[in-house]
């Protein structure tokens, strides 16, 4: 067991930081306030990600065949930590790196891989995730959007909601029901171009920035059978694979930790950090960030050995949500005026996004259920 970064890892992190220092514009803090799904940040990501790709910093951990250099999984996470802490200049494209690309590489047909992966590796692909529906949130398995076979095509009808980045996305990783009945077995995955006729997207005004979440309507949307991902009956396990990767994909603890540091600097300047209560709470928040970080790193370690993530991803997610809450509460208690006026943009950005952690990618209650049943072996709840 060894908990130090290697010299190589450290050098890699420095490279990423240098890149960010060079490539982020002077008004970046202001721009990144709009959120990864905003027009501004999406447009920026389409310039920024190709540069990252050219520098070998977009998907270094992917195999050479798909535009990477087969670097260790750790580099993926070092990148994720630096990018999220910087306000996510990759915009929505972090999703490609974290889970959409890996899922396609693992389960896609040759044709699907050849079509979709090169643009992701080049930094030019915006995807969205069509999972949740008005009546299928935590209970994702009950989704109702249908995909009915018609000759060589499928015809999709239904509604998705909370679809992040859908307004500007070119493709959707979509779940729909092909089979009869309500079970998980009837669910299939489709890779759908958002320009296909019959798709209508409406933005939902929200607390987390404009352009982030949407309603997405599908009316007689026709896609070829080749748009289907995975074999019959395989979809639910693919979904679990992608969700486990998604859950630990965003390095939220890193922004939380850095924002905590900025708040401490501010409190020190104001002479308020001499208060032992403030220091204890800051220490507690720092420890919560460290706990989240080490549990996420444990999942990276597991992945770097080629193992598939299980309940460890949920354990890490619960710790990340804890860290987010503790840091946010620290801000609200000791630096409330950071939230008004121009304030500290990083504190505000963190605060806006922190509220998401306990809900998106499966709420904390769902994660706790996974831990109880798959980690502790407690009996399934009875219904």
């Amino acid at each position: 067991m060894d908990f130090d970064w290697t010299d190589e890892d450290r050098a890699f992190r420095e490279r990423v930081r240098d890149f960010l220092a060079r490539e982020l514009p002077a008004d970046w803090a202001e721009m990144s306030r709009h959120g990864p799904g905003s027009k501004e940040q999406t447009a920026f990501s389409l310039e920024f990600c190709p540069k990252l790709a050219a520098a070998g910093l977009l998907v270094p951990h992917w195999p050479a065949e798909w535009g990477g250099s087969a670097r260790p999984a750790w580099e993926h996470f070092i990148l994720g930590e630096e990018m999220w802490a910087a306000g996510e200049p990759r915009g929505a494209q972090y999703m490609n790196v974290n889970w959409i690309g890996p899922t396609l590489m693992r389960f896609g047909t040759d044709e699907q891989k050849r079509r979709y992966i090169p643009p992701m590796a080049a930094g030019k692909a915006i995807w969205c995730q069509g999972f949740s529906e008005p009546n299928a949130g935590s209970d994702l398995g009950s989704l109702r959007t249908r995909a009915d076979r018609d000759g060589d095509d499928y015809v999709i009808n239904g509604q998705k909601i909370w679809t992040s980045y859908a307004g500007l996305a070119e493709h959707c990783f979509l779940l729909a029901r092909t089979g009869q009945g309500n079970g998980k077995a009837g669910i299939a995955i489709f890779l759908v171009p958002m320009a296909t006729p019959g798709i209508d997207v409406r933005s939902i005004p929200s607390l987390i920035g404009h352009g982030d979440i949407h309603e997405t309507f599908f009316t007689d949307v026709r896609v070829p059978a080749s748009a289907r991902l995975g074999q019959k009956g395989e979809a639910w396990s693919i979904i679990n694979y992608s969700l486990a990767n998604e859950r630990v994909g965003i390095a939220r603890y890193e922004l939380a930790d850095r924002v905590l540091g900025r708040m401490v600097d501010e409190l020190t300047q104001r002479g308020l950090f001499d208060d032992p209560v403030v220091r204890m709470r800051a220490g507690s928040a720092a420890a919560a960030c460290d706990a989240a970080r080490i549990l996420v790193h444990r999942t990276v370690d597991k992945r770097s050995r080629g193992e598939v993530l299980g309940a460890e991803a949920s354990i890490a997610r619960v710790a990340v949500a804890d860290a987010e809450t503790v840091v946010t509460d620290f801000a609200l208690d000791f630096l409330p005026d950071a939230f008004s006026g121009p304030g500290d943009l990083a504190v505000q950005t963190h605060h806006e996004r922190a509220i998401v952690t306990g809900i998106a990618s499966g709420s904390i209650e769902i994660q706790l259920g996974i831990i109880a049943q798959r980690w502790l072996g407690l009996p399934r709840e009875m219904r």
């Binding site: 220490g283 507690s284 706990a291 597991k302 619960v318 710790a319 980690w375 009875m382």
Partner: protein, 306 residues
């Protein structure tokens, strides 16, 4: 970074796990209904098989000592492990064991003193050690699940240890963090087994979500505590060590209370071992000053060191 044990560490922990299956390590009620079960036999097995010297092996190291401490703390029987495996290699390899550790005040009721053959005193400005003589310790009745004793004033012949006090303090914090994490894990495992088995309202208690979620939260904290403790033992960095100990001490309150809650009245009996873990946790949560001290310490090391 590598979370998996190396080959030697894996063998070491594997053999230990086998030993922990043996009858010496098993729960039994003590004949006089005392609140702890000091297992001289298991303690001797750890020593005789060389487990407690692992930190001196280059391929095992303090990380293995912390992992050992965590695992031993999970058992219902009591052996002295943290001081022997983590501190002894730093302060004096010749100290006879079991070893008690006195923090700061040498007149405080202290665990293991009545079974210890030597003692390590951790003071702000230095580390001292002593071999205990027969009259040096008076037993103390206690609610905690340890053999507790007090040093008789003036009866101990202290020697200054040739060791960096800061390093020793950090190692001790890491060891305590590993130990408290293990104690909580032992209690959690016992309660998980219980709620799988016990039925009310026609179903296992463990199928009720109110119980599942609180046990799952506890499991997430305990996992984090385990890795933070190992990392602290690896780095001996003060922020890591205080962070690991502060984190698990802060979590211990809620977890200990929940563990008792879910066992109902059964958790109050001396016929079930739950108290062996919870009344160790209740002592360890204030060790070296408790969560408040350590979390403040994290802040001070991180942001006020300059």
């Amino acid at each position: 970074m590598r979370f998996a044990p190396n080959e030697d560490q894996a063998t070491f922990l594997g053999v230990l796990d086998q030993m922990a299956e043996g009858h010496e390590a098993h729960w039994r009620t003590s004949p006089d209904w005392s609140r702890f079960d000091w297992s001289a036999a298991f303690d001797r097995m750890l020593e005789d098989n060389g487990f407690l010297d692992c930190a001196r092996e280059e391929t095992l190291g303090l990380v293995a000592a912390a992992a050992l401490t965590h695992r031993v703390a999970r058992l219902p029987v009591l052996a002295e492990c943290a001081a022997s495996s983590v501190l002894r290699p730093m302060v004096g390899a010749e100290l006879p064991r079991p070893i008690a550790v006195v923090e700061g005040r040498d007149d405080a009721a202290t665990r293991f003193l009545t079974v210890a053959r030597s003692v390590i005193l951790i003071e702000a400005d230095g580390i001292r050690t002593a071999v205990l003589t027969p009259n040096a310790v008076a037993p103390v009745d206690s609610l905690f699940a340890y053999p507790m004793g007090r040093l008789t004033p003036g009866a101990t012949d202290w020697r200054a240890a040739d060791a960096d006090p800061q390093r020793v303090r950090n190692a001790w914090r890491a060891a305590l963090a590993a130990e408290l994490g293990g104690v909580l894990k032992g209690g959690l495992d016992a309660v998980v087994a219980y709620v799988k088995d016990r039925h009310q309202f026609g179903r296992p208690l463990g199928s009720f979500q109110a119980i599942q979620h609180r046990l799952a939260s506890a499991a997430a904290k305990i996992e984090a505590a385990y890795w933070l403790a190992l990392k602290a033992a690896h780095s001996l960095d003060p922020a890591d060590a205080m962070g690991a100990l502060g984190f698990v001490q802060e979590a211990a309150t809620r977890i200990t209370n929940d563990l008792h809650q879910f066992m109902g009245a059964m958790g109050l009996t001396l016929e079930h071992p739950l108290h062996r873990w919870t009344y160790r946790a209740r002592l360890l949560r204030s060790a070296m000053g408790g969560a408040g001290t350590h979390l403040q310490g994290v802040a001070d090391t991180r942001w006020r060191a300059a």
